[in-house]
């Protein structure tokens, strides 16, 4: 299953987004009321000017007491609206940030609830941005753009009303100057949006090119391809710069257009206003107040393109976040309703299990296998024969498309995850480590483990010698993704991690492929010793694992073609005998 492509409309996206973050709605009416009052502050100056000119300066000498009172009143109003502005901002930030933090958390959690299959349909970076930058875009809009829409519309509305009160003719003139902008602005916005999309794409390319010099530093040096890499970077950096310049050109030239319209409106108001004034329809104070009111039109329209952009980005961001949340967890935890299995040795039964990747041909056909408690099972077969699929079905990383997988007689789909993950643990080939110390990583599956328990586990696995060779022992930092350790060492840590988690069934998927044979045998023996009460399933290229197993499952083309003990299988011609022959010719001294 891929992540759902969310094609819902803008309105329903907002509605669903608000429903997912109820924090947004907390105290929203009060915040909006505060916003209205804060916006009213903008028309204080035009009103004050109109009053002072028409009433204060009407006579031969200025009416100073009136002017003093009017100015004092206006000043109080300015302070009050500023206080409203402060309260509104604080409330807005608190409610939106709370809502977005919980949205992030929900999105993150849901990504982990998706099956590996669904997770792998997206690049890691894209998945990460669904809980980071996509949410940031919503926040930019909610705290700036969305607010600007309200404030700007309020500002336009209030200014228009006041203008209409002063003179409907002049108000119409002003509108006539700005209406054409309302028609061209969306077009500008599309240009700007397209230009910025270009910038974002080029930024991605540029960062990718830069990261090659860092991530691929060894290969670049080993093959002397510094110049070629430098050329690629130059091209990417230059394309990025050009895209930025292109966007800037559009923004810079479209930006002053509103101001020009404002100037035309002012000039028009002066000419028409004077004619109206001579006719006695309008006072000088009102006419001059108009000149100040027109400036209230400019900033909303200047920011309109930006706000529209923000709104589109926010909707796109929301769609992507919702895309995650609306994708059902296809391999879902039955939760409270699920079965909790008691601890102890495990029986696994595959009943006619089949599997196909979505839209792909079946990779596993009709597999029926029983793994009895306390046995060591080896799974062998060529690359692509279905071994890893088998492992993923057994650990319920995926669900079968046909048949059932039973653990102690219970369908795997009915077992609670908390119980399942405690009892069945898989060690994948790529031993992913988290940035932290060796000890942090080993106790990842059992955080309560003490250093002494970790040391004991490493001793039991026969890794004391290795541990002693490390500069800081258990405190050795492993680096990002374990990069400070060698590939073999990472596998040792991953093994110790699973071993310490102490599951009832341990599944090793090529978990020791980069470890030296002596260490591998030591580990196998240690697992063996402690496995007496445990079921162990190993997938391996090295058939030494199969030799030591109680039961060998031989996979070919998605089917179990042979099973039995190593000795039994060798007694007959077949896939296993061939595999074994080719392995021994390589692994043994001649």
């Amino acid at each position: 299953m891929t992540l759902s492509v969310n094609e819902r409309s803008a309105l329903s996206t907002f509605r669903r987004g608000f429903a997912l973050s109820p924090e947004f709605k907390v105290g929203l009416p009060v915040t909006l009321t505060l916003a209205v009052f804060a916006t009213l502050g903008k028309i204080i100056v035009p009103i004050a000017i109109q009053q002072v000119i028409d009433r204060g300066l009407r006579g031969a000498t200025p009416d100073l007491p009136f002017i003093r009172n009017a100015v004092a009143l206006c000043a109080v109003a300015v302070v009050l609206t500023a206080v409203c502005g402060y309260l509104m901002n604080v409330r807005l930030y608190r409610s939106t940030e709370s809502g977005l933090a919980s949205l992030r958390g929900k999105g993150f959690r849901h990504v982990h609830d998706l099956s590996v299959l669904t997770q792998n349909t997206e690049r890691r970076g894209a998945l990460v941005s669904r809980v980071t930058s996509d949410v940031d875009q919503i926040s930019t809009f909610m705290q700036w753009g969305g607010l600007m829409v309200i404030v700007s519309l309020g500002q336009l509305l209030i200014a228009s009303v006041l203008m209409a009160v002063y003179s409907w003719q002049l108000a119409l003139l002003v509108w006539a100057c700005f209406v054409p902008l309302l028609i061209v602005l969306p077009r500008f916005q599309r240009w700007v949006a397209r230009a910025y999309t270009g910038v974002r794409e080029r930024t991605g390319d540029m960062l990718a090119a830069v990261s090659e010099t860092v991530v691929g530093s060894a290969v670049i040096r080993a093959y002397g391809s510094e110049e070629r890499t430098a050329r690629r970077i130059d091209a990417a950096v230059d394309a990025h710069r050009k895209a930025q310049t292109r966007a800037q050109k559009i923004v810079a030239t479209t930006f002053p257009i509103t101001e020009l319209a404002g100037a035309v409106a002012i000039a028009g108001v002066v000419v028409l206003g004077v004619h109206l004034g001579v006719g006695g329809t309008i006072s000088a104070g009102k006419l001059i107040a108009f000149l100040f009111l027109i400036t209230l039109f400019i900033s909303p329209l200047q920011t309109a393109t930006e706000v529209l952009n923000d709104a589109q980005n926010a909707i796109a961001g929301w769609r992507r976040v919702l895309g995650v949340l609306d994708t059902p967890a296809d391999v879902a935890d039955p939760g409270e309703a699920g079965v909790v299995l008691p601890r102890g040795a495990i029986t696994v039964t595959f009943q006619n299990v089949g599997f196909a990747y979505p839209g792909g041909p079946p990779v596993l056909h009709d597999v029926s296998v029983e793994i009895t408690p306390r046995t060591r099972v080896a799974v062998v077969g060529e690359t692509g024969s279905g071994k890893t699929t088998f492992a993923k079905l057994l650990t319920r990383l995926m669900d079968p498309t046909g048949g059932r997988v039973l653990v102690d007689g219970v369908d795997l789909r009915k077992v609670r995850f908390s119980s399942l993950r405690e009892r069945i643990v898989m060690v994948p080939q790529d031993g992913f480590l988290f940035d932290g110390s060796l000890a942090d990583n080993i106790r990842y599956g059992r955080p309560s483990a003490t250093d002494a328990e970790i040391t004991l586990a490493l001793t039991e696995l026969g890794l004391t010698d290795w541990l002693e060779g490390l500069p800081a022992g258990l405190g050795t930092p492993v680096g990002q993704r374990g990069e400070s350790l060698s590939a073999g060492e990472r596998q040792l840590v991953a093994l110790a991690r699973a071993y310490l988690a102490d599951p009832d069934l341990l599944l090793l998927d090529e978990a020791t492929s980069a470890v030296d044979p002596a260490t591998e045998v030591r580990i196998a023996r240690a697992l063996d010793g402690v496995t007496r009460g445990r079921t162990a399933v190993s997938i391996a290229h090295r058939l030494s694992t199969a030799e030591a197993a109680d039961e060998v499952l031989v996979f070919e083309h998605g089917r179990v073609v042979q099973h039995g003990s190593h000795e039994e299988l060798l007694r007959h011609d077949g896939v296993y005998a061939d595999l074994y022959a080719s392995w021994t010719s390589g692994a043994r001294t001649s």
Binding site: P62, W466, S513, D516, G586
Partner: protein, 607 residues
Amino acid sequence: MPSERDSTPTVMRQGFRVLGHAIRTEPRVFAGAVLASCVYGIMTVGSSWALGLATENAVLPAFRDGKASTGALLTAALLIVGVAVLKAAGVIGRRLLAGIMQYRMQAYSRRAVTRQYLRLPLAWHHRHPTGQLLSNASSDVEAAWAPLAPLPMAVGVVVMLVTAAVAILLVDPLLAVVGFLIFPAIAVLNFVYQRRLSPLMMRSQQLRAEVSEIAHESFDGALVVKTLGREDTEAARFQARADRLRDANIAVGRVRGLFDPLLEALPTLGVLAVLLFGSVRLQAGGVSPGELIQVSYLFTLLAFPVRALGWVLAELPRSVSGWTRVRAVLDATGSMEYGRERLPETGPARVEVRDLTYGYTPGAPVLSGIGFDVRPGRTVAIVGPTGSGKSTLTQLLVRLVDPDEGAVRIDGVDLRDLAAGRLSSAVSLVPQQTFLFDDTVRGNLTLGEDGVHAVPDEKIWAALRLAQAEGFVSALPKGIDTRVGERGATLSGGQRQRLALARALVRDPRLLILDDATSSVDAQVEGRILFGLREGSPESTVIVVAYRMATIALADEVVYLEHGRVADRGTHHELLGRCQGYRNLVTAYEREEAERTALDAGEEIVA
């Protein structure tokens, strides 16, 4: 924070030095931007003057006299529109040129930084975390040149303020006092605002990066999280950081919420003050009504641009810290020095390793006193337990790092004496960790050799065949011209390894070094690869790190490492006979089987 206040002048001085560097690099663009910005600044004051003039000469006389003068009105209208056009031209020029300057500086810095990444030795890379190097080239470069965007505007605003001061002084010195109180107050308030906001923004930016890092790591390790059932703790870890980000953003909001309305209220109060004092002055005959309007209008116009001064000054600390980090990369020394020696063009290489000692951290050598020879055309296997320093040794052999002591010589030439590019044309390393570029199969093999050096398709296919990659590559939708995606993610581990091997083979290396390069490949496939190498490339000397007996058996000699030292060397049989560690390692499977057989036999007897 007294310490911050103490350091402020220093930071500002450093900040101006960073800006100075940009201005010296792009003097003409900067001059153009400043010129345009001055036009904008003067015309902003000009527009209030035009309005005042219109009020004084056209509006008020008409109201007074009861009749409109067409000439005066037309002049006023043209003046208003004309000034606006000039101002718009100034704005366009300023924004465009400021952008060009900022983007050019970013591009210069990014190129310089990545050139350093390519030039500096791998040892330097080992000392710096990947994430840090990436942000040096992206966000640090961005921060360093961020003040360039508002800089020309700030210069224009200074011109604007001077013009405004003169204009108001010409109107009335007493009204000018109001202006001289208000405008510096706005500039100072905005500076305080930005100074308080800047650390909070940096903190929120930092937390945003951390939230993203957790998500990255957690999703990268999704399989481990799932298989160990740690979803809840991972979600809690992420939520804790997301909550800190929330709190940081709310703190930003509080500062914004306080200062934004203040900055808006201050000029409004200024206009009110102008009205009050202006009326007093009007009574005294100091100003005309038109001039009163002109000054009021000027206040509303200037309120916003004055903030630009604060933007630049506030960006300076971030700019300085960004530039300091960028400079640290640019000034990094210890670059790899090259000599002038060359190597023969053909024939297998001779390798001598002498007393090699190397450690990632001083005092903790990973390799000490390593020495061995490889004669031309021979194959040597390097064997040793996990963590014994084998991969590090391969890095020294291709001079990814230089030894702390001792030397590696090829055909008698110390690697450090070779001219740049000479070593990589003779020696190919296939590292343990496969790295593929986001490029086509062809691009990944040829690494961009084109033109005269273009690699013919037949040669690419031959290398793929030898690496046992021909089958799956020909099944790809576009064959060798198929893109293999982000770090080769579309291919399986074994397929990626085979492409990396083909990349080495297509170069016909005189020395081929394989660092456990077939670990993800099936035994059968590996067998075919090794057979091919032995039969198909007699021209190469081969050094191979391996555990598999099949690989070791191909070697003429074995170098056995233990704890970073050569514990023994000789033929496989010699070592089997006399070196216990080696015997334990390579015969581990056999011994295990033997023991088990004995055990089984024992059990049968008991039973």
